[in-house]
């Protein structure tokens, strides 16, 4: 009994160390990313061609009412004549106080605007991953188990087509076929019910294409592995071997792939949210860029970056949970 406890304690310690290392790594990443993204966005927004005050005035009042007088009033109100370094220091100071500032166009706190939009983007991202998993995983697993079969070939063809289709085109096709012709769901909108399906399909199908191919390879490799063969030889049925050993083994590369391609969801959201009038953060970012709303650009980009890190954190956690060798190997 004592011997068992002695061997378990280092395992638990190693596991805890692995989790701590991962969380620490991601926390440092979040800090670095926050400062980097915010600073880069600041310089990019400031170096865009055209007069910032005029763009902000156009965002506020519409360009019909934009004049040099309106731009001067905005410049004076927002202190846009301040030196660049002073404005950047001011933003860094705000960030230290966890304050993202105030939108130059709406006058509302950026946190308030971003929180509303981020919730919608997370909703869309989760729905897209769900679509990708529901469509891509079964096809990938089946193709891996029956490599060269008609499902495998069809999946390959579909994956090529879906990955090659730009999200804009796929979105319009889905709108025309599913919403207009079949009248099954709304074309666009923000009601968080049926309106979610088409943007989630647009993002999810692209992700599903890659996921199916990765799942196929992983499944094929798992099915050909010695451990899988051993599981069957020791008396497990094919189904038991698949569920207990094959799927778990194939899951790690699939989850890692999802982490890498989280960026696909974030960048795709910019186009898809605008097209489907989905009130997410990608949509807000586009408008902030047009309106030269620097605090909103910084806030939105920062949150998109954090979303990416957060997604990767979940992926790391899933990989650690799935693969005990990673927990052990972290200290080895």
């Amino acid at each position: 009994m004592n011997k068992t406890l002695k061997t378990m304690t280092p395992d638990i310690t190693r596991s805890r160390t692995a989790w701590t290392a991962m969380l620490l790594r991601r926390a440092i990443q979040i800090l670095a990313l926050g400062l980097l993204v915010g600073t880069v966005c600041f310089f990019m927004a400031r170096s865009l061609p055209g007069d910032m005050a005029t763009r902000i005035a156009a965002g506020r009042y519409g360009y019909d009412l934009v004049s040099n007088a309106a731009a001067d009033a905005v410049r004076l109100e927002l202190g846009l004549d301040r030196p660049l370094w002073l404005a950047l220091l001011h933003w860094w100071g705000d960030i230290v106080r966890l304050d993202l500032g105030t939108s130059l166009v709406t006058g509302h706190a950026v946190w308030r605007e971003v929180a509303h939009q981020l919730a919608a983007t997370i909703e869309l991202a989760v729905a897209s991953v769900f679509v990708a998993a529901v469509v891509g995983l079964p096809l990938g697993i089946w193709s891996g188990l029956h490599a060269g079969g008609w499902v495998d070939r069809l999946t390959l063809a579909l994956a090529v087509v879906l990955r090659a289709l730009p999200p804009f085109l796929l979105a319009v096709l889905l709108m025309v076929v599913v919403a207009v012709q079949l009248d099954a769901v709304p074309v666009a909108g923000d009601d968080h019910g049926g309106s979610l399906l088409l943007p989630a399909l647009t993002l999810g199908l692209g992700l599903a294409a890659g996921l199916a191919r990765v799942a196929r390879s992983a499944m094929r490799e798992a099915a050909a592995s010695a451990s899988f063969e051993f599981a069957r030889n020791k008396g497990l049925s094919d189904r038991q071997a698949l569920i207990r050993h094959g799927l778990r083994q194939a899951a790690t590369p699939v989850v890692a792939y999802l982490g890498v391609h989280a960026v696909f969801l974030v960048e795709g959201a910019v186009v898809v949210e605008t097209l489907f009038a989905w009130p997410g953060i990608g949509h807000a970012l586009v408008h902030a860029v047009f309106g030269r709303d620097v605090p909103m650009i910084q806030g939105a980009a920062l949150c998109m970056g954090l979303l990416f890190v957060g997604f990767n954190l979940l992926v790391d956690a899933a990989c650690l949970a799935l693969d005990p060798r990673r927990r052990m190997g972290a200290v080895a």
Binding site: Y63, S67, A73, L145, V185, P279, V286, H287
Partner: protein, 521 residues
Amino acid sequence: MTLPPDFTRRRALQLLAAGPVTAAASTTLLAQPAAARAPLQIVGPWEIPGLSPASSGHVFTRMQVTETLMNASDDGMPLPGLAERWRVSDDGLAWHFTLRAAARFHDGTAVTAAAVVRCLQAARVAPALLSQAPIRAVEAEGAGVVAVRLTQPYGALPALLAHSSTMVLAPASYAADGGVRSIVGSGPYRVVSMAPPQHVEAAVFEGYDGPRPAIERVRYLAAGRSETRALMAEGGQADLAYGLDPASLVRLRKRGRVHVDTVTLPRTVILKVNAGLPALNDVRVRQALSLAIDRPGIAKALLRDPELAATQLFPPTMKAWHHSALPPLKQDPEAAARLLAEAGWQRSPEGLRDASGQPLRLSLRTFPDRPELPLIASALQEQWRQAGIAVQVGIGNSGDIPLGHRDGSLQLGLAARNYATVPDPTGTLMQDFGTSGGDWGAMGWRSDAVARALAELSRGTSSAERAAVLRTQVTAVLQAELPVIPITWYRQQVAVGRRLEGVSLDPLERSYRLTAMRWAA
């Protein structure tokens, strides 16, 4: 590997289908039309940037949630709004507006003169339009009369008081810091939910002192892409879809699922010309530039509507300012060549050159806020190239034109100018064609006759006949001297769903006219 015996193809296909089918079924159920009386859905390109009247007032006045003191007829004449009557003193310096006695805000409080004065004071802060008026004081006289005192006569005051930035909100709308925290108006509809920048939903206000609207609930959604708006109309999701692109309009008309209603807007695509440049200072060169333009071709090919080719600056919808007797602007390459030759520009294999051999090269700035502008710029570039004029097109943002005006660097600027931001265009024209020109109007050009006529019109003291003569004088000079060159007019095209009746479009874009609509039987 062989297939596990109990993991059959049928089973796999069942699993494969289960997810999407479940998701589709659940969302389809959610998307079912709730009832025949689902809210009237409007979709348009205009986002709701905030609650400030200066930035988002148009959203709420169009939805008839808020009211302005004055309204306007289609041709811009003043009509009663929240003020049921008004009078102006003999010297034109004091205006008195009497409020509707039974008017109530959506929180049940009475609309008082003090509440109106508070809103008008806030609307006087630059760059809001009311700041243009020579106002000395805005005062409440009792509970029901608002007095506006001026430093000099200003006839366009009722028009300014019809602009959405002067909309009247209840005192409860304002936060302690003076900012607007909620929209409590006095119109026939009240806000029931709002999620800036995209949607607002309104329901009938039972305490409204006018006729009860037939449409109970209205929802507005801002959708940035015109393709999305057109497909929403085609799919029956939107009852009114504003701001449709030409390609979508062709498809909608062909399919016939929705009716497309149109109205010509008081907006014109203009070419702002820097007449201060030696080459463009000569009116013959400006006329030649105009004569080289194939307006019907541009209107047909790019706007899919040849009737939008501008024959003069003001479109027919601006009845007081459009003069059908004016000789129309048209394409005449021979006349253009003759005028250029008379102005000293000789044709050479490399294009036009003056007596000293300098080429006629110009630069044109435009912006993509209206997607047709860069396309029109390219068409103009080609048409002028055929006339021997080399033009370089630069696409930036809308601020480049006012900035170029200020620093004198602008040569040609292509923009779409709304001449009825307020129902009476006199104020806009004074900005554009006053003695020192305007950010969106004349540059390096002045006409004392035009300035005098506009100043007299602005005072509002002329008789109707005299005002008509002055307007004719202004339009004739602008047509002859071309400080800005009109290219095309605009038409608002709206897809109207079949369940709606009584739809009429407002050429001044002040209202969706919801109270006149009803459900089809």
